[in-house]
């Protein structure tokens, strides 16, 4: 790529073309996916310009007039009281989620790896995947019936002498319920990658450690953890890179009139103002702001990990 301006460039272009023509069959195999890519990934990106236009659905994207001033809808968003609230909620929810759920699959994988009975190991692992196959709707429904005022959880609390807690509607329970259910859903499945990394560790390390009389905990600390660290950092960068895209489907499903003060995140807000009240340009502006912040965070996280750990996702 760096030699693109050398005098040989034209002939390079010609060889490229010749090679491309020879591989036409490969491009044909790629064609359906390319059509998908431009229709459902890049065309919507082009559609983002309606954030800077007064979009009218009849006129279409091109014919709609530019917004004056050009950042009208961004200014409109930041002038609402919802903006600060939605941004804070988004960041807090994903930050808490990262803090409370990121390490769980790692610890689970490390501990499961210490189970030597392969049948038990397999059984535990298989059970741990189960919630991953539940949809968000099923998961939230299960929470809803189990944690409702007259559900089994509250009955147990009352039996133990406590008072009924409104888990599914009160604002203070939204984040714990959200993050708890995320851990429930993803612990087993996210552990797969760490378990695979642990299985790849050469037994020689353990043999050497055992000769030195290292206990199991020491082996975890001095062998397992350092050796899976690259995987951990990679997953961490990816999680940080998704910090603003925290699962809106579940947040939307878990919303109740009483908890929107904490459960209204940017994406649920975009859905509501965009599709339920048809303020397309405004909602697109809000969504674009979210995407850009997210992309910057990912970029920075990747930069840090490349600098300090020599691991990069790009």
């Amino acid at each position: 790529m760096s030699s693109i301006s050398t005098p040989k460039a034209p002939s390079r272009a010609r060889t490229f073309l010749r090679r491309a023509l020879q591989s036409w069959q490969l491009y044909v195999l790629l064609l359906p996916a390319l059509v998908w890519l431009f229709t459902f990934a890049y065309y919507p990106m082009y559609g983002l310009i309606i954030a800077f236009k007064d979009f009218r659905i009849r006129a279409g994207i091109l014919a709609s007039p530019w917004a004056t001033p050009i950042f009208k809808y961004f200014e409109q968003f930041f002038s609402t009281s919802i903006a600060v609230n939605a941004i804070t909620n988004t960041i807090l929810l994903s930050l808490y989620q990262l803090i409370f759920s990121f390490w769980v699959p790692i610890v689970f994988a490390l501990l499961l790896n210490q189970i030597r009975n392969s049948r038990m190991k397999k059984t535990v692992q298989t059970i741990s995947y189960a919630p991953y196959f539940l949809s968000n709707v099923v998961l939230v429904s299960v929470i809803y019936v189990l944690f409702s005022a007259n559900g089994v959880v509250n009955s147990l609390i009352v039996e133990g002498g406590g008072a009924v807690k409104l888990f599914t509607s009160q604002a203070q329970y939204f984040r714990p319920m959200y993050i708890g259910s995320t851990i429930y859903q993803t612990m087993g499945f996210n552990a797969i990658i760490y378990i695979a990394a642990l299985t790849g560790i050469s037994p020689e390390y353990y043999e050497a450690a055992m000769i030195d009389g290292a206990s199991k905990l020491k082996r975890i600390w001095y062998i397992d953890i350092p050796l899976i660290m690259p995987t951990v950092i990679l997953m961490l960068v990816l999680s940080i890179g998704n910090i603003m895209t925290v699962g809106y489907e579940k947040a939307y499903l878990m919303q109740s009139p009483a908890n929107t003060t904490v459960s209204e995140i940017i994406s649920t807000y975009v859905y509501k103002v965009g599709l339920q009240t048809a303020q397309y340009s405004f909602a697109t502006a809000v969504g674009l702001f979210n995407s850009i912040v997210n992309f910057i965070i990912l970029f920075l996280a990747n930069l840090l990990s490349r600098k300090f750990a020599d691991i990069s996702i790009f």
Binding site: R19, P32, W36, V137, Y144, E249, V270
Partner: protein, 304 residues
């Protein structure tokens, strides 16, 4: 049973310190507790769907179906939306698997070929969309512009390629179809088509199964796209129907005449029944197919 295994295991393992033994006991106990925490809520919902609501409503823990009561299942079949939801979901899932396989597998093969001119640029164009997207509204407008709003294609086509799946599939081709095979078949005069269809594909049954399952699960569970891209109630998939019936409390509407208490009893149970009916197919199938999921994730991890 499990405890016994733990002891047997202990004997087969050498060089354990006292601390290790404590650790093992603690660790095995923890694993069993984790399994119970994961498994019991689902088991409880299934039991509650089969048990007399009077007992369920006392809020005690259930361990087996006491007073078997199947009225809920009989009532559930009377909800036409539930049946259409089921039929729709099955239809969308089958369509999605076919379309997605046709789009993803050949593309993944092409991108696995290191001699493909423009490979890096193409890969970048795909990967970039994992980290940046148009978002909800532009997607909605695209669906309308393409003219597939409120049709099955509105769910199937946007999901035709998942870039993550594409990368997993590409990694599979890269690591399991040796270059020598391609060179040999070229000497025999085989074209790229010939190599892909006659040699690469027949060697790829595992990855095809993995892809089919990834796409099927995701379409079976799809909710938000249906909410955004479909309009008619008659087209809604199971997940939307489930949300309407259980979470939006639309159950209480419609049934009149019956005694109020009796009605409430059935409504309570209906929730458990509907959840069970929606989740059961996947929960029953997954133990048999989970190894493909593990294979998929592990293949994907090789090349990140």
């Amino acid at each position: 049973m499990k405890k016994k295994e733990a002891v047997v295991m202990g004997q087969t393992f050498e060089a354990r310190t006292k601390g290790d033994i404590v650790f093992d006991i603690f660790n095995h106990a923890l694993m069993i507790i984790i399994c119970l925490i994961i498994f019991y809520p689902l088991y409880y919902v299934v039991l509650a769907s089969l048990t007399d609501p009077k007992i369920v409503n006392t809020g005690k823990l259930l361990f087996y179906p006491e007073n078997l009561y199947l009225e809920g299942y009989a009532k559930a079949l009377e909800f036409p939306s539930l049946t259409t939801g089921y039929v729709n979901t099955v239809k969308y899932t089958v369509m999605s698997v076919i379309v997605s396989l046709l789009a993803t597998v050949p593309a993944a093969y092409t991108l696995s070929r290191h001699d493909l001119p423009g490979r890096k640029t193409l890969m970048f164009l795909f990967t970039f969309t994992m980290f940046f997207s148009g978002g909800i509204i532009p997607m909605f407008l695209t669906i309308r512009a393409v003219g597939i709003y409120n049709t099955s294609w509105a769910l199937v086509l946007p999901a035709a390629v998942s870039v993550y799946n594409l990368i997993v599939c590409r990694s599979f081709f890269e690591s399991s179809i040796p270059v020598e095979l391609l060179e040999a078949s070229r000497i025999d005069g085989s074209s790229d088509f010939g190599f892909f269809f006659r040699i690469a594909l027949p060697l790829s049954s595992t990855i095809i199964a993995v892809m089919a399952l990834f796409y099927a699960t995701s379409m079976w569970n799809t909710f938000f796209n249906a909410l955004m891209f479909l309009q008619d109630d008659s087209k809604m998939p199971l997940q939307v129907v489930l949300r309407n019936l259980v979470l939006s409390n639309q159950l209480s509407a419609g049934s009149s005449g019956a005694e109020l208490a009796e009605r409430q009893k059935v409504i309570d149970q209906l929730k458990y029944v509907i959840i069970t009916m929606s989740a059961l197919p996947l929960i029953m199938i997954y133990p048999f197919v989970q190894r493909y999921f593990v294979a998929g994730v592990t293949i994907g991890a090789v090349k990140g």
